[in-house]
């Protein structure tokens, strides 16, 4: 084993200390009845619940449904938001019309619209998908607008002076140059979509991680609540990792990929 490897191992050990301390405190607190098991169920019971959820397929079903609805809404938001953001950066009239809507939509608590979407689209998947799309779309529009607006003019001019046609300049110069910022917007929008999806499931019940957790809480099943948080965090981690992977893939040509 060489020196740098040893150093990395040392660092990883140091960084896991706070986790181990936390888990030890958890175990001590429940072992010596310092905290009621309703508030903090024993670590072992949460682990057992996680294992049984994994084996019974409950995790696959709930996490799959949550992830599916989140990604469907997110895809819808990207399909609408990226072209719209590019359009408003390039056409003044469209920009004038859409910009105030985005500046209201960006900071707004989008989940407040869920009752409206339930009224319009029913209580099944469609209303949840529209809800997640709605919660993500303003971030995507703002990123696509800012990205294309921020492309350096000389880049465009030199392509034009070399004889590139209008459409080519857009596809070959503008879009790639705006891509890092667009992807950053998507990376912010996806967790936002997941947050709102989980809240919608909690409100509307049914299958999915949010509905499962609310049910566990109303049955005073604390182990279920804690297991649900771990399972939701796992879905979140998968979503974050997928986006990071997509970014590396799309930006393979970009200097940031070499870092």
């Amino acid at each position: 084993m060489n020196g740098s490897k040893l150093k990395r191992l040392h660092r990883a050990a140091l960084r896991s200390v706070s986790f181990l301390v936390l888990l030890a405190l958890w175990e001590i607190a429940s072992r010596f009845d310092l905290i009621r098991p309703f508030l903090l169920p024993p670590l072992a019971s949460v682990l057992a619940r996680l294992a049984s959820d994994l084996v019974s397929g409950a995790f696959a079903l709930n996490a799959g449904l949550t992830l599916y609805r989140t990604l469907a809404g997110f895809a819808l938001a990207s399909l609408v938001g990226i072209p719209l953001g590019i359009l408003i950066s390039r056409h003044r009239l469209v920009g004038w019309f859409v910009e105030p809507i985005v500046s209201v939509g960006f900071p707004m608590p989008t989940i407040a619209f869920l009752p409206i979407f339930m009224l319009w689209f029913g209580v099944f998947d469609l209303s949840k998908i529209v809800m997640t799309a709605f919660s993500a779309v303003f971030t995507v529009i703002a990123a696509a607008d800012g990205g294309t607006r921020g492309v350096e003019r000389p880049l465009v001019w030199s392509a034009e002076s070399l004889g590139a046609r209008h459409g080519d300049v857009f596809l070959e110069v503008m879009l790639p140059a705006a891509m890092p910022q667009i992807l950053t917007g998507l990376q912010v929008a996806l967790p936002l979509a997941l947050i709102v999806e989980v809240a919608s499931e909690m409100l509307m019940g049914g299958a999915g991680l949010g509905g499962m957790m609310v049910q566990a809480a109303s049955y005073a099943d604390s182990a279920g609540v804690y297991a649900g948080i771990v399972e939701t965090a796992a879905v979140g981690a998968v979503a974050v990792a997928l986006m990071a992977r997509l970014r590396r893939r799309v930006l393979r040509w970009h200097p940031e990929a070499a870092r």
Binding site: L14, R15, S16, V17, S18, F19, L22, F38, L39, W96, F97, V98, E99, P100, I101, S103, V104, F106, P107, M108, P109, T110, I111, A112, F113, L114, P115, I116, M118, L119, W120, P191, L194, I195, V196, E197, V198, A199, M202, L203, L209, G210, M213, V214, A216, A217, A220, S222, V225, Y226, G228, I229, T232, A233, V235, G236, A237, A239, V240
Partner: protein
């Protein structure tokens, strides 16, 4: 200069937000012409009337105050705790090693998943919502402070040190001002999160607040009043964001 300047400014704001007015007019027109069913979308004027009724019969203001109190308390705690933690992580490698991994593990968790947990721990009242908002807003504040302080050009700190500034002075007079834009970006995200978590937790379970009002009006089929409450919470979020932007501009005025 003041009067002419003010008039121009008002006109600028009007031109900027005229599209919202157009949307309101189109909304009114499609419902009045019967293009959209009145139960799915009550006319804008009806929603406005409901807003006035909610305002006058004393429903809206107490619920809005209850929500804003929760949001402000949670956000204030997150700003205090998050900037302290973020600064600690940026300035001390030891704190970074201890807290950094926990922050990293907490990052991908969709914070609404904590709603049942805070219910179990703190019940159905204010405390549960304040803790939820605090936890949800903590990360953007930590990340903004941490990245802001870490991104400051080292040369700035070195030159201040060589001119005789103490370590504490360097942090206060050099590092924090230089990191301010990123800290403020984090705070802006946190403010939006506070509104989102406030409404989400009140919709899921509460006995007052704007989220509760929206949910209960919807359950009773009082749709015009429900739309009015949704527009209210949207307007409050927008005003908070604009107010925040104004404060940021003021704080960053020295940067030219």
């Amino acid at each position: 200069m003041p009067s002419g300047f003010g008039e121009r400014r008002v006109r600028g704001i009007f031109v900027r937000y005229a599209p919202l007015l157009i949307i309101a007019l189109v909304w009114e027109a499609v419902t009045r012409l019967g293009l959209v069913s009145g139960t799915l979308l009550p006319p804008f004027s009806t929603v406005l009337l409901s807003f006035v009724t909610l305002l006058r019969d004393g429903t809206l203001v107490p619920n809005a105050l209850a929500s804003l109190m929760r949001g402000a308390a949670g956000l204030a705690l997150a700003i205090a705790g998050g900037s302290a933690l973020g600064a600690g992580m940026a300035l001390s490698p030891r704190v970074d090693t201890a807290v950094g991994p926990l922050v990293q593990a907490f990052y991908p968790l969709p914070k609404t998943a904590l709603v049942p947990l805070v219910m179990v721990w703190f019940g159905l009242g204010d405390m549960a919502k304040i803790v939820l908002i605090f936890l949800g807003c903590l990360l953007p504040v930590i990340l903004g402070t941490y990245n802001g302080l870490r991104g400051v050009d080292r040369v700035l700190a070195w030159s201040a040190r060589s001119l005789g500034a103490s370590r504490r002075e360097v942090v206060r007079e050099v590092l924090f001002p230089a990191a301010m834009p990123q800290i403020l970006t984090g705070l802006r995200t946190a403010t939006a999160f506070a509104f989102l978590l406030m409404v989400a937790s009140e919709l899921i379970i509460a006995n007052n607040g704007l989220g509760y009002l929206i949910g209960s009006l919807g359950d009773n089929g009082a749709y015009p009043a429900m739309f009015a409450s949704i527009l209210t919470v949207t307007a409050l979020g927008f005003l908070a964001d604009r107010g925040f932007a104004a404060i940021s501009r003021r704080l960053l005025r020295w940067r030219a």
